[in-house]
Subunit: 296 residues, 4 copies
């Protein structure tokens, strides 16, 4: 399949590689061109602009940072929308707002194209191993077309709805589960530390009994270890995602008091100089409250 791939960051690059390895014909683009070299070395064509990349593609996949990046590569000057042909499909894997997902859907429909939102769960190593979880939403025919492609990058493809933005809402909910699990651990670890029980002991009990999911194991361990730099997931990115779910909550009429608490935690983390750390450093706020020194 002729696939355009835009955005070769820590998630995009391994995804693109897997598609290349699967025999797809890839044309790639990245904002800073040096990131394209490893793909080119494996046979990908490199284009100078999103528009040029998209020209002639059956499928264009975007893996860029946020709403404004998706907007820029899609609708900006030399954006993919200007290059993509009728009948082609745009698959966005980014964590973007519900509002932008709706807008993209409408814009592509108008051009006789389809838009599929295929957000993913997992960090870069999972992307490299094709072990992501993919939450795909869009028109059934478009979904059917892209599914075999998505199966190269995901261990499981969940079809979550016919409206592309539904994928984005599910992704925001998933991220909320992560942030609020961090807060759960942060609170009990601060309490147990103040009570003279090693947080690691508490974690051993929880993680070996009924709190044994990846979300517990990954984030609980990171909080215990307290090495928040360099960040795996950036604080600012977390703050943005949390803001997006609050926005969705407001739009759909569902208050989210835990997300409100997290908003205060994110704002405090940045205000207290931890904006460059991993978002697991949110756990330092419960430490502050308890009079414990923050971890770095």
């Amino acid at each position: 399949m002729k696939i355009a791939f835009l955005g070769l960051g820590p998630m995009g690059a391994p995804m693109a590689l897997r598609l290349l390895d699967a025999g797809h014909e890839l044309c790639v683009w990245n904002r800073s061109q040096d990131k394209t070299a490893p793909l080119a070395a494996r046979g990908a064509r490199v284009a100078a602009t999103p528009k040029a990349t998209a020209e002639g593609a059956e499928l264009v996949i975007t893996s860029v940072a946020n709403d404004s990046a998706v907007r820029a590569v899609t609708f900006g000057p030399n954006g993919l929308a200007d290059g993509l042909g009728r009948g082609a499909i745009h698959v966005s894997t980014s964590t973007i707002s519900v509002a932008l997902a709706r807008e993209l859907d409408a814009a592509h429909r108008e051009r006789g194209q389809a838009f599929v939102s295929a957000t993913v769960l997992g960090r870069p190593p999972a992307a490299a191993a094709g072990k992501l979880y993919v939450m795909a939403a869009g028109q059934p025919t478009a979904l059917a077309t892209v599914k075999p492609v998505l199966e190269r990058i995901g261990q499981r493809i969940f079809e979550v709805g016919e409206q592309p933005w539904q994928s984005n809402l599910v992704k925001l909910c998933a991220n909320f589960m992560i942030f609020s699990t961090i807060e759960q651990f942060a609170e009990v670890f601060a309490l147990s530390e103040k009570a003279g029980i090693a947080p690691a002991t508490l974690f051993e009990v929880l993680s070996n009994s009924f709190c044994s999911a990846p979300v517990h194991l990954n984030y609980g361990k990171m909080i215990l270890e307290g090495e928040f730099s360099p960040p795996g997931g950036a604080m600012q990115l977390g703050a943005k995602d949390n803001a997006l779910i609050l926005q969705a909550g407001e739009a759909f009429g569902a208050p989210l008091p835990m997300a409100s608490l997290l908003r205060d935690r994110f704002t405090a983390s940045v205000a207290r100089g931890e904006g460059e750390l991993d978002f697991c450093a949110l756990s330092n706020r419960a430490r502050d409250d308890a009079g414990l020194a923050p971890k770095r």
Copy 2:
């Protein structure tokens, strides 16, 4: 071993049965005597008071509802403290306050006895199958004595400290993980329902990817099903446990904003006439906030 067993409720009865089946010599007591019949039928001796039950026992295990019940069977008229001999051990499996655990420890020491707190994780079927998780804390020698007994009721025994109350704090933290996980699901399910995405779809994604722990599977499913009566875990019991962790947080100097939110949720649940439901009905509060009808 000569074991006195006090409290034959949904958790106590199956635990006592397992000890009987393992060949221990049991003397049992329960507030309402009819509950003792199945044990008696299997060979247990039945005593009329906690004191009489404890007389001559090497080990007395209590499995009663709360602080005031533990206090009554231990220190009340004809309480176990009056019957238990020097050198014997009191093992409390109840979810009680840190303060009471300290008090019990001191009182038993004074009498030349030992106190072990061995709180458990799991519901009645796990108790019947010997699949509980046991969090034991107390003096090493006492722990060593009771461990073989505990191994009959638990699939794993975590030794969490030398101070008995440490078991109780860990248990309160575990319960907090449950309540706050209910709130997590409550918020995202209300949001997704308002957005026209079936909460079951969202749950399928989460529970099949990174939120796959028993705490997710059990409570997520109960919330989705929305059958909160008769209660597996009573709302009032949950409210009490949540109050105990807040109390511990205050005593040890660790604010717990999520537990504070849960406190408001528990109070509202009772105020809104749901005090007799399972504590999973806490999830109705996020539904209220979103303008959705509560589930029963």
Copy 3:
């Protein structure tokens, strides 16, 4: 003075009238032109567009609903920015975001004009009586020029800084005081009602002792009376203002947990069908929580 006045709503119309009565030469504009009639009858000139209104004015005062309205009358097609001459001053009385105030300041400077933010406290009757409180911020020379004009509409002019946006931040803080005072009363009134003490009795004590400020008297009374329709202050407007202070809190690095709570209250109020009521209906949320019927 030659003054252009844009926006003749419940606040703008009485302000404009007072300036007219004070002998200023007014040219007015309103989105729906019928609102201009009373002003025209008193001698004001009526213009067809913001641009036309602003032409030749020494001062242009805007009193419109929100960020997007200010943006439209200023920078939109036929906006005031196209008509206002060099050396003229734009005075914005609207409750807008800090970000837009910064932007307006920069845009006017670039055109050789000055921008003053002069937000106000008080409802329409205070505007008609010249009894508003005015919080003015901007360059000292521009402030000095507009001060005599502002003194016609305000009983007191507070100069809060040299940066126009500082007026907007102070205004957002003032509104936060209102919303959070509503929540204070909502909580204690719900509690006292549940306890069988008439909220009016509690209010009598508080308002006649140490909670006797206008913010207490006005909003306490409105909550007690429970007549939230037609709205004096619209729920949606309140929600917007509360969102703006949270935005400012994020931008400047100050978490505002009470504003986060209010955000959830606003979202729930809209979700529960009270979006068209006065924002005092926020007080219904504490009633919901306590199992009391909402007031209308």
Copy 4:
């Protein structure tokens, strides 16, 4: 009138003095006897125990710190209950729990005595000047008897109900208004400071416009000045009172999310080593969150 007065702390001493000056026959007692000297010098009789003080009194007034102190002077060994005659009245001015007020009422009724709760608003200088606000609750005949006495210490007597505990609930609500007003100011002052606007400027605007009540002027000024030691109102006392309103909220079925937030603030204040400061130091928590240094 023959009045027994128990508790000569910063509030009790000036109240007792005013009653003495009004010609009442006083018998006084205080835990540390040195505090009785000034009263004795003005003609009061000094007794050795609460019981001895109460003997022969028509009225016994207690002004002691908290639930346990009231309980001790009333029901403890040599407590007032043992000395007070039938037909006498116990007037409690302390901020105690609703539960204890109920208990006192029942106990005194049983003894053929009456119980009036007469909590007060105001700090020591107001007590010395007879300018307190008194919230009295109890049986009408008992109230009628004590009212002339209360009028010597209060500028206004509010009769808030026939159940003594209603006075205590109103008092707890009043204290909640204070604590939550501190939090209001704490949040906007932290925000304005981060934004480069002097909190004093913001306070000038608010306190000279619509936030001009004593609760604003007193606490706003104390927060701005930031001198929290020695405490006017002790942090621990504030924490206790806030806990009591949460308790009442739970008992009567009214969640109080602002009081829950304050609970976290109080706990954090103690945890961060500010337990000995004035409870206005609660305002330091919003400073922490914003990355500002706490005030002392």
